[in-house]
């Protein structure tokens, strides 16, 4: 039985562009996955090229043609099949891109420690900020599932990401000049953690200052059906009524609308309002309700009488 996302989790995804499930995958599966990819203890390998050759020679990850249905993608009883059949992972995927999603691509990201760069006299730099994979003005969205099979410490330079950037339409590395962005996050997590990113979320890999190789396995999934109320098949979601604007009530409990309207420290004063408008439009799409509004942002500008 898959565990679909809650409305609050969907709102969190709509606002931030990401969701995390810390230490979700069990250690046995994490070990199986590392064996499957041809993990070699770091002391046995002295350069990056040799490591890549090892992985290429011994990895049992299947070659998956783009567009393959996810349910046919991974061999029976393989660790990747177990991961995608995990009730939380399957529930999140079904909630966001549906049960008939297809694999766009998969990629094993390796981030090597400093000693390999020193040996070859190479400059060790972090990956610049970017958005995958090209300019993408669709309303439909893909998700990218990030799987961390080992613990990721702060020193290991886990994936850097910028919550709330997913609805900004930019062209891949066109954002590379933003070295640092206020509110940036870096993934520090337990082995078995799963992150799910909206395809538009700005991100990049950090520098690995530890002594261990950092692994991250990424799979991009594309929907084949409309992404309306997939998490709420009984269609129970009802928009909240309008409230009095600029009227604070400290005793009021946090609502789904509060999750959706959260601001981030990197947002400009003017464009922050457009980010909110775009989040409401995104929520309209996800709920299939073309008239809902939050804090009157859209009603105000849709009241065109001429």
């Amino acid at each position: 039985m898959v565990q679909l996302l809650s409305t609050e989790q969907m709102a969190e995804f709509a606002n931030s562009g990401c969701l995390f499930f810390d230490g979700l995958i069990d250690n046995e599966t994490n070990k199986e996955f590392l064996n499957d990819i041809g993990h070699t203890e770091i002391e046995n390998v002295d350069n990056m090229q040799k490591y890549f050759q090892n992985i290429k020679a011994s990895s049992s990850i299947p070659r998956i043609p783009a567009g393959t249905p996810l349910k046919n993608a991974y061999p029976h009883k393989s660790p990747l099949e177990k991961i995608f059949q995990n009730e939380v992972v399957a529930g999140a995927i079904n909630s966001l891109v549906g049960s008939e999603a297809v694999v766009d691509h998969q990629f094993l990201h390796l981030t090597f420690p400093t000693k390999y760069f020193k040996k070859t006299n190479q400059r060790q730099m972090s990956q610049v900020n970017h958005q995958d994979s090209t300019i993408d003005p669709r309303i439909t969205f893909d998700i990218q599932l990030f799987y961390f099979p080992t613990d990721v410490t702060k020193e290991m330079g886990g994936t850097r990401y910028h919550p709330g950037t997913h609805l900004r339409i930019v062209n891949e590395m066109g954002i590379a000049k933003y070295q640092n962005i206020k509110g940036q996050k870096k993934i520090v997590c337990k082995a078995g953690t799963i992150g799910i990113f909206h395809n538009g979320l700005w991100h990049g890999a950090g520098v690995n200052f530890s002594d261990e190789i950092r692994y991250m396995f990424k799979v991009r999934l594309q929907p084949t059906e409309k992404q309306e109320l997939l998490w709420d098949p009984e269609k129970k979601y009802k928009p909240l009524p309008n409230k009095a604007l600029y009227w604070t009530d400290e005793n009021q409990e946090k609502t789904v609308n509060d999750i959706l309207m959260k601001s981030y420290p990197w947002q400009e004063a003017d464009t922050n309002r457009l980010d909110k408008i775009n989040t409401i439009k995104f929520w309209r799409m996800l709920t299939g309700n073309k008239n809902l509004d939050i804090d009157y942002w859209l009603t105000r500008i849709e009241n065109e009488l001429y």
Binding site: Q179, N180, K186, G204, T271
Partner: protein, 92 residues
């Protein structure tokens, strides 16, 4: 003695130097420090004006470009960009 340029790029919350820094990048032509993406979580200055007060010289800022008709709600790159420089002398 030779001269080298240091460049500081600040992105501000609104298009005035008194505004809060929301994104930043530094490129050090003296070679004393290698800056890279994700290397600091706190901005070097709270506002653009504070950079001026510390001796950085402004040499370029973004223009105000009206939103394209029909695309008024489209969001994209950070808008309020300011380039500063310092020229350093030394034996680099």
């Amino acid at each position: 003695m030779t001269k080298r340029q240091k460049v500081l790029v600040l992105y501000l919350k609104f298009p005035s130097l008194e505004a809060e820094v929301i994104s930043w990048a530094t490129f050090d032509g003296t070679g004393q420090k290698l800056h890279m993406t994700g290397d600091s979580d706190e901005p070097p200055y709270p506002t653009g004006l504070d950079a001026l007060l510390d001796g950085w010289r402004l040499f370029q800022s973004s223009q105000a470009i009206p939103e394209h008709p029909g695309e008024e709600f489209r969001t994209s790159y950070l808008k309020h960009e300011f380039f500063f420089e310092k020229i350093e002398e030394g034996d680099f």
